[in-house]
């Protein structure tokens, strides 16, 4: 996958005496030392990070670790002191006012910890806001707004005001507002931290469910390691404005970078937070139902397998075919050979939920999303390896 966002040598210094702070950083001083000596606050200290297209990337860290400062550099709410932020290869730090407004309108939207709703506007008018500032006609923006209100499960609440809603519902409004302008990148700054634990769990599940329907690159900030690993395809742990470790959730358990990471993940129950999608294998051979039998046989054999999964014309999962059957058949068309009784697992399931399925299946189990597209495969051995 291509990189959607590339962060290069990014440093963010608050206040006026930026040069002094940069110089002191070059001398190798820590940001605590600089703060004590000069009173200058540094949010982000020389960060390099690549975020892939379509990824749900979580940045996790304690308060004051610089994660909120970092995410605000991605839409220039914070202007970086040094370094580059490349979005689709363009350095947005060099954008002028006009370009900045344009990219904020079309490409990046944001969800806030305390919702940031306009309390003088109804739910509908809040959700429309991103389109309203673009000067889009009322009928069109209402249609789009209603669609995203439906997506977050708030249909029927359009004409209520934020003060009449519960915390969880307010954040749904915030999410709907961010979805309405159809931005490719969604920044979420501790969106669920202000919510009750139960509602937070619901929201997490709903967000993951939604990612099956919307193809967005999501950067999600949290201070909760459990939340980070539950949600993230990948995560980055931040401390003192620096990144301590980046990787898939499982990698944090396999190779914690240092003692700090170890302490951070100490209380996390792996099987309950590791999701199938972070453990599954993505590189596999997928046949199409229209493929020629000979080609399929050749491909399966070259992958050293005994079967393969088969997609239909619309790239939805149809079933699987076994190598034996293919060899026995004489028909060039493989569609009759496809076994539709395949096992599947939703990619957002937790490992703890899928043991029986993995155990019973003789093949690698297909990992699918809600729109029935195959995203990867997983076997018993994969799951065991991830948890060990």
């Amino acid at each position: 996958m291509a990189n959607k966002i590339e962060i290069k040598d990014l440093t963010l210094v608050f206040g006026k005496k930026k040069e002094i702070a940069l110089e002191m950083l070059d001398q190798g001083k820590t940001i605590q030392e600089i703060r004590e000596e000069t009173g200058i606050a540094i949010g982000v200290n020389n960060i390099n990070l690549d975020i892939e297209e379509g990824e749900l990337f979580v940045i996790v860290g304690l308060s004051g670790s610089g994660k909120s400062s970092l995410i605000r550099c991605l839409n220039m709410l914070n202007k970086p002191t040094k370094g580059k932020v490349l979005i689709d290869g363009e350095n947005i730090c060099e954008y002028d006012k006009k370009q900045l407004i344009e990219i904020r309108r079309k490409k990046i939207s944001m969800v806030f910890q305390h919702f940031g709703l306009l309390n003088h506007r109804s739910v509908l008018k809040n959700v429309e806001y991103g389109l309203e500032v673009q000067g889009i006609k009322e009928a069109e923006r209402k249609e789009k707004a209603l669609k995203s209100i439906e997506l977050v499960g708030l249909s029927g609440w359009e004409n209520y005001f934020p003060r009449q809603l519960s915390g969880g519902m307010k954040q749904r409004v915030g999410l709907a507002r961010a979805l309405t302008n159809d931005a490719e990148i969604l920044l979420m700054d501790e969106p669920f931290s202000a919510l009750d634990p139960l509602i937070r769990k619901d929201m997490q599940a709903d967000l993951l469910g939604m990612t099956d329907y919307i193809d967005k690159t999501i950067i999600f900030i949290t201070h909760d390691m459990n939340e980070a690993f539950r949600l993230g395809d990948r995560a980055a742990l931040m401390k003192d404005g620096k990144i301590v470790q980046v990787g898939k959730p499982a990698e944090f358990f396999e190779n914690p970078a240092n003692e700090y990471v170890e302490r951070f993940i100490e209380d996390v129950d792996k099987s309950r937070i590791l999701r199938v999608k972070t453990v599954m294998r993505k590189n596999m051979y997928l046949a199409k139902v229209s493929d020629n039998r000979e080609t399929v046989i050749k491909n399966i054999e070259s992958n050293d397998r005994g079967y393969c999964y088969v997609n239909d014309e619309n790239n939805k999962l149809l079933g699987f075919v076994e190598l034996e059957k293919l060899k026995d058949s004489e028909d060039d068309n493989i569609s009759k050979l496809v076994d539709k009784n395949y096992e599947e697992i939703n990619r957002n399931a937790f490992l703890s939920e899928i043991w029986t399925k993995l155990d019973e299946s003789a093949y690698d189990v297909a990992v699918t999303d809600k729109s029935n597209r195959i995203r990867g495969i997983i076997s018993y051995a994969d799951a065991v390896a991830a948890l060990s």
């Binding site: 407004i101 309108r105 305390h114 940031g116 709703l117 306009l118 003088h120 806001y129 991103g130 500032v133």
Partner: protein
Amino acid sequence: MFEFPESLQFGISEPIDRAVKWMLVNWDGFFDGISNFVLMVFDAVQGALGILPWWLILIGIFFAGYKLYNLRTGITLTLMLFAIGLFGLWDLMIYTLVIVIISVLVSVVLGIPMGILMAKFEIIKKISLPLLDAMQTMPSFVYLLPAVMFFGFGKVPAVIATTTYAIPPLIRLTYLGISSVDTEIIEAGKSFGSTAKQMLLKIELPQALSTIMTGVNQTTMMAMAMVVISSMIGAEGIGGQVLIAIRRLEVGSGFQAGLAIVFLAIVLDRVLQGVANKLKETE
């Protein structure tokens, strides 16, 4: 030994006098222009209020009190205004009201943009804040002097003095309202690509509206206080009645006029406060 040495005395009254005289001579047209403009607005507002029959105004106040508060407040406010009519001060009250309304209008037109500028530009804030402090601690009498100097006697200097005295709270509260809009709401506005104008009109002003309305209320009350004092420079109205009563030592009619002023002030305060509260509820 105990006296302040005479050699150190240096008054600023003379240079000020000279400056005023110079301005009077050289900026003659400017002051005449303002004078004519104020007179024109005065006649327009008075004409507009004059079209309304007294009972319609009473009914209007009743509904305002009823809608904003409850039936009792509606009736109380109506009775207060009715009492002013009973005292035979209705026309004078309208006159006073016209000056107050004009002062508040001018304050809104000048004060709100001023408050916005203060919130947006650090330098304007730094200059304005001490100036506003000075304006608010200056005794109200002092405002009469320049008004009289530049505009003579009558309603024009009364409007000018009243406006100058009444405008600071509105500027201050507009500034406060705009600068204390929740940072996350500001960030949200920016993150969706609002232009500076859209930020102001769609986010900052609506969010600050209830605070600004409180400012309008305070400005109105200040104007009420000043309009009475400005009767000393020839403004008629209820204040004029008090002044006449003082000169003639008529305790009764002085008290009556004073009570009318209090009633009018209460009615204005309640109605504007009610509007501000309604706006606050929506937050």
